[in-house]
Point group: C2
Chain length 356, copies 2
């Protein structure tokens, strides 16, 4: 039988709780659909710093490299915030992206009807908002040379933003391909009126566009994009952009949906391998209380089924189950209007697997 | 008598129209308050490219350098969008900032009560929103070395982001000083978990903070800031950040107020010299029709009075006049609910000077 190997990285804060519910969903999928999963757990982030002295132990990397996909909870917390760079959870995150070649971060920002009210945007503006940000994840200013030197005006710090044609081509293609499966609109976001990397970006995107005559391409400057997301969020379909702009724009897009506690993400490399994680963070303030919302992590499993395994049936079953549980009025504290009726993490997970 | 010299750069698109109304306000100020202004006009942006073959002619720079302040309309338009870099209006903008040493861009984002409805945010979220973004304007990735080179994976483009201690100190001080005159809250925005320039930024801001014990300082990561602006805009007072992040964050902040057609900005150097301009662009689509909104430019004059000349009385008179004209229900097309009742650019200017 075709057993899929999943590396499971629970991480810090609420990570272990929400991943626990996602594992229940995996198990239920085996029962319902006959698929088979083998999971292997790895330490990562703050807990790995505490137990192994490094945010990304080689052992964890090995587990990931041996797997077909990675499921990640969340990493980080105040405990490690003042650590030196090598001992910070984020360093592990950047390291795992680079080591696994995860050059493409896919962040759907869609509105859950029952959560529309949670958005700070007017409902009529939000109506129909359903976009995906495709963010380049292993290049740009994140990974360029960084250093300090003494200059005329005291110490100076330097970061280098580098992009080559190959890097831009592959993420551009990713953007066009995803647009093809949706409303065939691609907004490429750059700062071509200022940056050389953006000018190269725009040239390459224009060249690749010729291969996708059915996709309507628009170039949007990043400052204008930050505005247009607020003014006309529903007019975007797919946004493709470089690493730093993608970090900002994808978070803005996620927040405006009001559904940030529900959003999943995928980080993909060449081939079908991918790392899946909820968009929300490790929420150390509520960790260990059993009140966190497992839905974003459960939907990350659905995304893994679709994008890495091609298990559309199981993915659909999970997504439908989430919808029906929400439609029935069940809410964890973060999304409950009446907090006194909120249910806990495991109760939510149980309801979802029962509805699958 | 103390005659103030103002360099006037009308620029492109609606620039000349809106600047025309601002000049009427200057004249009215002379009559009402006895101040004296001498204006000298310079070509800049697209029109300078057309007439002088460069977006920033030396003559225009001389006029600015001889003046006490600069009033700028707007530059740019599709006509010049595909020009090579040296022949683009933006290149003039970057050039004038650098040449005049305008290291600090002040962008108030406040909500005009009568325009609250124009925001895509819910009114209750917007309530009390009144923030200022202080953006570093002559450093960072905008002005670092940029080039292309051939690499292993085809052509690569490089941008360099550099900040030195002196640059960070002066903009940080600017942020703290402005916070002192307001609600004494400063949010310093960076990406210290990834960028070396941000780590230096944070160190320097923390060091300067010791000089301002009355200001409450918070460090916010730029991705989180993009989210928090949406979630709790009214909780921000002053935001200080580097050039590229400031470009994105200030536009997001401006748009969420719904009042983008009304917002003014100042770009300041050492001493009292400053360049003042509306936040909105050149709006080539409506240029020459006499329907553009001159209020942001008129309010930029008020800002000039406050920050460069110390003419608080005249500034107040302009701001009150704008408020009373709006309260009386007068609107240009961009801010009118009932477009059929909209008035034109000169009519709006006339009403404001009459109300001063
Ligand atoms: C933690 C940080 C390094 C990371 C990033 O900037 O990529 C995070 O913000 C994200 O978007 O996954
Ligand atoms: C036109 C462009 C170069 C400029 C910038 O990015 O600084 C503009 O967006 C601004 O904010 O004034």
């Amino acid at each position: 039988a075709d057993v899929k190997k999943i590396a499971v990285i629970a991480g810090d804060g609420i990570g272990p709780e929400v991943v626990g519910e996602a594992l229940k969903v995996l198990k239920r999928t085996e029962e319902l659909f006959g698929y088979q999963f083998e999971t292997e757990h790895g330490l990562f982030g703050g807990i790995a710093i505490d137990e192994k002295g490094t945010p990304l132990p080689q052992e964890t990397l090995d587990i990931c490299q041996n797997a077909d996909a990675v499921l990640l909870g969340a990493v980080g917390g105040p405990k490690w915030d003042n650590n030196p760079k090598e001992l910070r959870p984020e360093t592990g995150l950047l390291g795992i992206r680079k080591a696994l070649g995860l050059f493409s971060n896919i962040r759907p920002a869609n509105v859950f009807d029952c959560l529309k009210e949670a958005s700070t945007l007017k409902p009529e503006v939000l109506d129909g908002t359903d976009l995906i940000v495709v963010r380049e994840l292993t290049g740009g200013i994140y990974f360029g040379e960084k250093f300090r030197r003494e200059g005329e005006h005291g110490t100076e710090a330097v970061d280098t933003c580098v992009y080559n044609v190959t890097e831009i081509e592959r993420i551009a293609r990713q953007g066009f391909e995803i647009a093809l499966t949706r409303h065939k609109k691609l907004a490429s976001v750059d700062k071509a009126n200022v940056l050389e990397t953006s000018r190269l970006w725009r040239e390459v995107v224009n060249r690749i566009a010729v291969e996708y005559p059915d996709v309507e391409l628009e170039h949007v400057l990043v400052d204008n994009c930050a505005m247009q997301l607020l003014r006309r969020p529903s007019s975007f379909d797919v946004i493709v952009t470089e690493n730093m702009f993608g970090d900002i724009i994808s978070d803005e897009a996620a927040m405006l949906t009001g559904s940030i506690g529900m959003l999943s993400s995928a980080s993909l490399g060449e081939g079908s391998f991918g790392l899946y994680e909820p968009v929300h963070g490790s929420a150390p303030d509520i960790a260990g209380q059993g009140i966190s919302n497992p839905i974003a992590t459960i939907l990350s499993v659905a995304l893994m089924f679709r994008l890495t395994f091609g298990y559309a049936d199981a993915a659909q079953s999970i997504e439908d189950a989430v919808k029906s549980v929400l439609d029935a009025g069940h809410r964890t504290g973060d999304i409950a209007v009446d907090k006194s009726k909120a249910i806990g993490t495991t109760a939510m997970g149980d309801l979802i697997i029962a509805a699958m």
